[in-house]
């Protein structure tokens, strides 16, 4: 199983800290995990091209995401929404990019008042792109971090649960899909 962990911000440290933890929690599973931190890449702005027609970091980013079975998206909250840089990643991909992919969400925010941003802003995009979304997500607040570490034990438990549930969902859907495809006579 091919897992991509996307840290969806070019600035700050909290989302990356959380996604490092997601990578750690993936260790107990036998999967190929790749961490993509938007801060490490220089992406072009989406200009309507097909994703195969970009080059450099942009091509690497889109190809790596398209090749994934599972995508764990980490995002901070900027101006009561996801960062424009993360939206750009979605815009670079084709319309049904997340079809047959399981997508999970980790959100970091400065305030609990942003809790519904996942449901109101991120999930509609992922749904439109045909993702199978893991029902639970992990919402991490300012107070859960200290010195680039997550200091709330509950967050650690919830991140582990999210990772376990995501892989189970992906594996289950894969089996169902293979079962269905085996019925076809070609």
């Amino acid at each position: 199983m091919n897992v991509v962990v996307l840290s969806g911000s070019t600035v700050g440290s909290k989302t990356r800290t959380a996604m490092n933890q997601v990578m750690d929690k993936l260790d107990k599973h036998t999967v190929d995990a790749t961490l993509l931190d938007l801060a490490d890449y220089t992406l072009q702005w989406s200009d309507g091209r097909h994703y195969l027609d970009y080059d450099g970091d942009t091509k690497y980013m889109t190809q790596t995401i398209m090749d994934a079975d599972v995508l764990v998206i980490g995002t901070p909250v900027f101006q009561a929404s996801i960062p424009g840089t993360l939206k750009n990643v979605f815009d670079l991909l084709p319309e049904r990019a997340f079809e047959h992919k399981t997508v999970s969400i980790v959100m970091t925010a400065g305030s609990a008042k942003h809790y519904l941003i996942v449901d109101q802003q991120l999930k509609p995009i992922l749904n439109y792109m045909k993702a199978h979304i893991t029902q639970s997500f992990v919402f991490i607040e300012e107070k859960d971090f200290l010195n680039k570490q997550i200091i709330n034990d509950d967050i650690h438990f919830r991140l582990q649960d999210l990772v376990d549930d995501t892989l189970l969902l992906s594996e289950t859907l894969k089996q169902l899909r293979e079962q269905k495809e085996a019925e076809f006579d070609f």
Binding site: H50, Y51, L52, M66, P94, K180, E181, F184, D185, F186
Partner: protein, 156 residues
């Protein structure tokens, strides 16, 4: 709409889905052409789509699926969904894959729907072999075209 405005012929690529889905585009083209002073009857329309025929529809699907799937991966980054490909056995699907009789019925159904003047079959796709292409051309020449011409040559 743009083609209708300009009064130029239109060429439509139909990769998949229900044939009736594309009728809206053709109607809009003709209406726009008419509204802009062009005669829709004098504006030819060509459609293009995947084409593969073999002795039976089942055989055609079996032989063609690996090619359409790999070809789509190369051109589009993703394969052709099996669920959607399975629908090509239905006359209402725009994908012209099947036995010669099935293809004849499909092309005539599409012709009735669209009233188009030309159909272009995308045959050399995803590594279809030379022997398969030869067989396809043979079936087009001996079975498909003669049957279609019976219907279309009466000035329809």
């Amino acid at each position: 709409m743009k083609a209708g405005h300009a009064g130029v012929p239109m060429f439509l690529a139909h990769l998949g889905g229900a044939a009736s889905h594309f009728k809206g585009t053709i109607d809009a083209y003709r209406e726009t052409a008419k509204a802009n002073g062009h005669d829709p009857d004098s504006l030819p329309i060509a459609t293009a789509g995947f084409f593969y025929t073999a002795e039976t529809t089942q055989q055609a699907q079996r032989e063609y699926y690996p090619h359409i799937n790999e070809g789509m991966k190369l051109t589009n980054g993703r394969g052709f969904p099996k669920q959607q490909f399975a629908q090509s056995a239905d006359i209402r699907s725009v994908v012209n894959v099947g036995s010669p009789q099935q293809i004849i019925e499909k092309i005539l159904y599409q012709h009735e729907l669209f009233g188009h003047q030309r159909y272009i079959g995308q045959m050399d796709f995803g590594g279809v072999t030379m022997a398969q292409l030869r067989n396809n051309i043979e079936l087009i020449g001996t079975e498909i075209l003669p049957a279609i011409r019976k219907y279309t040559s009466k000035g329809s």
